[in-house]
Amino acid sequence: MVEDGRTAIDIRNVRKVYGSGGGAVTAIERASLDIADNEFFTLLGPSGCGKTTLLRLIAGFEATTEGEIFLYGDEIEDLPPFKRPVNTVFQHYSLFPHMTVAENVGFGLKMLGRPKAEIGEAVERSLSLVKMSDFARRKPSQMSGGQQQRVALARALAPNPKVLLLDEPLSALDLKLRQAMRNELKTLQRETGITFVFVTHDQEEALTMSDRIAVMSNGLIQQIGSPLDIYERPLNRFVADFIGDTNFVEADIASVEGGVATCQSAGGLEMRAAVVDGHGVGDRVTLALRPEKMSLAASANGGAATPGRIESADYLGTSTSYKVMLDGGVTLAVREQNPVDASTVLAAGDAVHVSIPVGTARMLVD
């Protein structure tokens, strides 16, 4: 965990530009982050955000344009990939087709010049770790995608690297397998104590497995934090929008008291949110409200609820997603858990009262 103190990877002001002159493409604008020893760290973002590039910079497949990368305190810029004590699990597995599973898994140690007996033991250990011991003599072409994925994992773990880099390793698997592998990866990371750097565009994967997440977009790190931080306290519009569903409401700060701002939206909706540095009374700000934090009721019930009308209702099985037009003109998405008696679910056109508990609204930086 983060508190252990030792830093596994220290990325300082790294910048990566492909090509030069007019055709130059900036993959990473500027990135700085620390990954702690023994941490499950995830780089999360849409395709093209620079997360894979950052992983490739750590692995050594690409050279940084500017900045430094430290691995356990050592600058690794000048080390070619085969001299870095990190291993990668590739998105498309990249198993050697002319070798058996055992040969694939033993490849790293063989290249390190380890004695045969040691390689044999490590291969056995790694294969049993991913529950593939029975497949040692198979060729990669004789296995399913999920099995190949496990072998790729065993191959990267066998040399016992300090850091394991995983490049969207689950993206080629089907849903059920992907969910099962999530738990296994998390368990594996805890058992081996190896620092995992995991790249994904899947927010659910990131939230379920990670100790910490760095959300990236357009070559910039938007926010670094625990899954809870990222989801509950998104810093900016991109993070709030990319992770989960969010309502964005424009509002003016009417007053600030003890770090909490009272904000007034266009439709007269009043919300309270912790004030963000740099904003003061009179500023126009964006507030983010998670749909599942709010609730609907047919009557006001005497509470501080805002009246409105349901515009649409989408039944999603476990919950129902509503679009509610408040009387003031603001439209909010609200998600309600479905009750025991599903026939009591509200329908479009129903008059409702939306209650927004204190703490729901998050003021964003931009």
């Binding site: 070619p80 050697f96 790293g108 290249m111 191959r155």
Partner: protein, 298 residues
């Protein structure tokens, strides 16, 4: 039963074009050569009827005036030189062709097509003319020697022409494309991400080459070696022009027997000999690859 017979007739009928082609263009000439090699030579060219193994005896023995047989190593020497030169040509074009194929395979599709076109370009010019060009390059006071002399690097001559080396250069030049193309074909299918994976697993440049690139392009390497070795063994243009007829190879020897020496049976016998060498080489190759496969399974 009737259906079975009908089926069989149909099968043969459908196979007939292929059988005719193979029979007419491949089997028939071979059979003719085989028959010729056991016939008597006509002093004016062609063959005379009658069975004799004289042609095969000639390969190893010389017939003296008193009809006694004396062993001669001339033809065995030529066979040996042919095999050696063909091996040199094969290894040489492998060393030159492999990096070329690798380079082409790593380009984008457009560049690949252009480079492949350039590799095959010499085929569009007559082989004789291209080989004459090599005479100009290698000869005394030729394209290589003159500049070296001009800058005072060379005194006298390198005497490159009419040597085994000149023949080897000619063979490598002629058959290099036949090495590049099959290696390129198997490398084109190579997933270059595997190279990244290997280097991630502590394989340096040489180990990546040795453990990943070479094994995965082996089919192309084998095909290329066969395609260069076999025609090199029977080549006669390069040996004649660059070896000046002083360094005979099997191809030139056969050519000589059918043309100036007018000893068709002997020419045919040497051709059979050449065929046997090629068959043995291919069988050895097949056996070693079978053994390798068996070792992989074990």
């Amino acid at each position: 039963m009737a259906v079975g017979a009908e089926q069989t007739r149909r099968t043969w009928w459908l196979l007939s074009p292929a059988l005719l082609t193979v029979g007419f263009f491949m089997v028939l000439p071979m059979v003719i050569l085989l028959v010729f090699s056991f016939m008597e030579a006509d002093p004016y060219g062609g063959v005379d009827p009658g069975f004799t193994v004289e042609a095969y005896v000639q390969l190893l023995f010389e017939r003296d005036f008193d009809d006694t047989l004396a062993y001669t190593g001339i033809y065995l020497g030529i066979i040996w030189r042919s095999i050696a030169l063909a091996l040199v040509a094969t290894v040489g074009s492998l060393i030159l062709g492999f990096p070329v194929a690798y380079y082409i395979a790593r380009q984008n599709t457009r560049t690949q097509n252009l480079l492949l076109f350039l590799v095959t370009l010499p085929f569009w010019t007559n082989l004789l003319i291209r080989t004459y060009a090599w005479i100009l390059i290698l000869s005394t006071d030729g394209v290589i020697e003159q500049p070296l002399k001009a800058i005072g690097f060379l005194d006298g001559t390198l005497d490159m022409m009419y040597s085994n080396g000149a023949i080897a250069i000619g063979l490598i030049y002629t058959y290099l494309p036949l090495m590049v193309l099959p290696i390129y074909a198997s490398m084109e299918k190579l997933d270059f991400r595997l190279i990244e994976a290997a280097s991630d697993l502590y394989a340096g440049r040489y180990r990546v080459f040795r453990e990943v690139i070479v094994p995965l392009s082996t089919p192309g390497i084998v095909a290329g070696c066969i395609l260069v070795f076999v025609p090199s063994l029977g080549a006669f243009v390069a040996p004649d022009l660059l070896g000046g007829g002083r360094k005979l190879m099997l191809g030139s020897l056969i050519h000589l027997q059918f043309a100036s020496s007018r000893n068709w049976p002997f020419g045919a016998a040497i051709a059979m000999c050449l065929l046997a060498i090629v068959m043995i080489a291919l069988m050895l190759q097949a056996r070693s690859s079978a053994r390798r496969r068996a070792m992989e399974v074990a």
